[in-house]
């Protein structure tokens, strides 16, 4: 039931403005490809493994191939035409053999034309379609497991992070967390992975403040959670990060290994990792198409803006970003039920009425996006070494979550400002969530903010400011707005940032069967 009495016309205008603001960026994304999109495509076509003999350490075969194609004949026609043409020319059995031959310097890539191009395109399409069938099978398997084991008994789903740096240790912590009540396990990535222009290989044990996202780590954790799901009698979901320079490839690996949710924000990498804006928007579109196909819930990152900007002053930037994320997601084929739009409890707790404002912001998101499983993020910025105060703050955060019907609740840690969480921090945090959800029960049935009261007015004010900002963005362009520091106060010009050299404008004869099949939903 709607509690804020939002004006339908204003809401409609906000959505229309967001669509208009997103349009030029979508056009840009369609007109370009990136090294990462091409690598993701070849991964779907079946390439795996790494060159263990390379002096730079394990370089994935897919990087060797795409880099060499780019060197020999450019990427503006896509990687599959030269790759599958070479496969035939050299009479090789698989893409991995092609990679080995490439590394040995035996392959000269060219862009085929005419009949040869048609033949290469057909072979590529068959290979990519096979990869997509694996993604489809995983989606079916998830549906089956959910039907058999069941979803969590209530909303919000309880989302917990593990981050030991060692996948084996992560498995222990994740299984314990699931037994203690976690519905979703997120394995946070190692510091610095976002800026690697390749996906590391194999099981890893030495991450910094997180564990590397690799296909093998994905597989190990999903298998462990499948076991523990049986034990706890509900399907425990697995989350990782499709972000950074390898966003599209990680999305593909998530689809191939049946991950269930992925962090996948349209601007996070730009703002918080200084990745080139164009690179991010191109990569993001492809990765979202993959997520749509795989039935993966995306999580967006609006909560982060409130760590660098003020949560009261910048509240409307969260709303604007949610609307943009929604638009980009819809355009890429994601339905509302896969949109874990983010927002957070980050208002300075010393402010009077901070809790009322948090309620207002949380309700606003809830009513603007009624069918999206919103992701409600705990306080981080105002957490300090005073862990006792932090525990109380997390309790109030949990109460907002219960009261405003959030879809996914990321469990706050009282040691947020101190360490990556101890086993006991997680356990205490889950006890906090359980107590609040249980004690509050169906309190939301009784909760009716006064029609002209503080909460309702605050929500209307934030929505109004969001519409004003969207009008400005439509006028100046989204890329300009990002360059001027509109989001999170981070200023990121469109021609700067990491990974810009990996962006390629598509030529007329560009071929990418993955994009074609994903766009067509086949």
């Amino acid at each position: 039931m709607a509690l804020l009495d939002l004006d339908g016309e204003v809401v409609g205008r906000a959505r229309a403005l967001a669509a208009r603001a997103a349009e030029p960026v979508i056009t840009l994304a369609r007109a370009h490809t990136t090294v990462a999109v091409e690598r993701a495509t070849l991964r779907l076509a079946g390439i795996t493994g790494a060159d263990t003999t390379h002096r730079a350490g394990d370089v994935p075969w897919v990087n060797r191939v795409v880099d060499t194609i780019r060197e020999h004949c450019g990427l503006e026609h896509g990687a599959v035409l030269p790759a599958f043409h070479a496969l035939r020319e050299h009479d090789l059995g698989s893409l991995t053999e092609l990679a080995e031959a490439t590394a040995a310097g035996q392959v000269r890539f060219t862009v085929p034309t005419g009949k040869q191009a048609e033949r290469a395109g057909r072979a590529a399409r068959t290979a990519v379609a096979k990869g997509l069938r694996t993604v489809d099978r995983n989606r079916g398997q998830r549906d089956k497991l959910v039907a058999r084991l069941g979803d969590p008994a209530r909303r919000p789903w309880i989302y917990l992070i593990v981050a030991t740096g060692d996948i084996d240790e992560d498995v222990v912590q994740a299984c314990n967390a699931a037994r203690a009540g976690a519905d979703v396990i997120a394995v946070i990535r190692s510091t610095g992975q976002s800026l690697l222009d390749y996906v590391p290989e194999g099981a890893t044990h030495h991450g910094f403040a997180g564990t590397y996202a690799t296909q093998e780590n994905f597989r190990i954790m999903r298998a462990a959670l499948d076991e523990v799901s049986k034990e706890v009698g509900r399907y425990v979901r697995l989350t990782n990060y499709a972000s950074g320079l390898c966003m599209p490839e990680i999305a593909v690996l998530a689809g191939l290994e049946r991950l269930d949710m992925m962090l996948n924000d349209s601007m996070y990498g730009i703002l918080f990792r200084d990745i080139n804006p164009i690179r991010t928007f191109v990569d993001q579109r492809f990765s979202r198409q993959v997520h749509a196909r795989a039935g993966i819930i995306i999580n967006t990152g609006e909560d982060n803006y409130l760590t660098t900007a003020d949560a009261v002053e910048a509240a409307h930037t969260v709303t604007v970003s949610q609307l943009l994320n929604e638009r980009f997601a819809h355009e890429a084929g994601l339905p509302d039920e896969l949109l874990g739009l983010g927002h957070a409890f980050e208002i300075n707790p010393d402010l009077a009425d901070s809790f009322r404002m948090e309620l207002a912001h949380a309700l606003l998101a809830r009513e603007l996006f009624p069918d999206a499983p919103l992701k409600w993020m705990p306080p981080t910025k105002h957490m300090t070494g005073d862990v006792f105060k932090g525990y109380l703050l997390d309790g109030f955060f949990n109460l907002v979550g219960a009261l405003t019907g959030q879809g996914i609740l990321l469990v706050g840690m009282m040691t947020e400002a101190v360490v990556t969480p101890f086993l006991s921090d997680r356990d205490l945090a889950l006890a906090n969530v359980r107590y609040v959800l249980n004690a509050a029960g169906n309190l939301h049935e009784d909760f009716r903010p006064a029609p002209d009261g503080f909460i309702v007015k605050r929500a209307h004010q934030v929505l109004g400011e969001a519409v004003d900002l969207l009008e400005r963005i439509c006028r100046d362009g989204l890329l300009t707005a990002i360059a001027e520091g509109t989001f999170g106060l981070m200023k990121r010009p469109p021609d700067a940032g990491k990974g810009a050299d990996g962006v390629v404008e598509k030529a007329d004869g560009y071929v990418n069967p993955a994009s074609e099949l994903l766009e067509a939903g086949q």
């Binding site: 740096g165 510091t191 800026l195 760590t307 356990d427």
Partner: protein, 248 residues
């Protein structure tokens, strides 16, 4: 300092009772053995008597305990070692006039968060005009020229920039500490400046919430600032180095 205040114990509700509380997890299944083990640990840590006031299972293999007890140890306040500020805290006006007088030009400050660390809020709190805790940041000071390189800056980039800007001081932030990343990165930075510039290197300052100001020597820097640092403290330190002639 009066004699009776030289030695202290924690205070629960009576002077000298030595009462503390602590909590931890043992890799032992919940039960009397786990509580006994917690008791033993507390005793070994100098808590006697120690009371295990709560315990519960975390999964099948772990037990969380809360212990209250009285510690036997005494703290000798005369043996406490901390970095005490040996320079006066100046207002922005005083910083500007002191610099103008002793340097006759603007003092150049280059700041960055190095390595793969992407946390800029701390260094921005020190450098940006907006500042921190009600104090304006270094950019506000007329006699300081501030170059903020942002985050994820590599050591070679930093050295290069410091050289072209003729930096008097380089301010580096490190927030992520897992596997001692903050220590290793800062040592790499100070070694690089030493190698590139020798004695003519700029004043090196490291900051971040998990640094201990006592670590300056180990890190090879001139000063370390920990959590809660304000811009004024840093500006005052920079004036101090200029007056001491540390800065080139």
């Amino acid at each position: 300092m009066s004699q009776d205040k030289r030695y202290v114990r924690p205070y629960g509700d009576t002077t000298g009772d030595g009462m503390v509380q602590m909590s931890f997890t043992l890799p032992v299944p919940h039960g009397p053995r786990a509580e006994g083990a917690a008791q033993q640990l507390a005793n070994k840590m100098g808590m006697d008597p120690a009371m295990v006031v709560h315990s519960h299972a975390i999964g099948a293999d772990f037990t969380f305990v809360v212990v209250y007890g009285s510690v036997q140890h005494l703290v000798d306040l005369e043996q406490v070692r901390v970095v005490e500020r040996e320079y006066p805290l100046l207002s922005p006006y005083e910083v500007n006039s002191e610099l103008k007088e002793s340097l006759g030009r603007k003092l150049v400050v280059v700041g960055a968060c190095i390595g793969t660390d992407a946390h800029t809020v701390g260094i921005d709190a020190i450098l940006n005009i907006k500042g921190f805790a009600g104090e304006k940041g270094l950019e506000y000071y007329r006699e300081l020229k501030v170059i903020n390189m942002g985050a994820q800056v590599s050591v070679p980039e930093l050295v290069k920039r410091a050289r072209t800007e003729k930096a008097d001081a380089v301010l580096v932030s490190q927030v992520v500490t897992q596997r001692d990343a903050h220590i290793l990165n800062t040592q790499e930075m100070s070694a690089a400046f030493r190698e590139a510039m020798g004695d003519r290197r700029p004043t090196l300052v490291a900051g971040g919430p998990r640094f201990d100001p006592l670590m300056a020597g180990d890190l090879g820097v001139d000063r370390v600032f920990g959590r809660g640092t304000t811009p004024g403290e840093v500006a005052s330190f920079l004036v101090h180095t200029v007056k001491k002639g540390v800065a080139a």
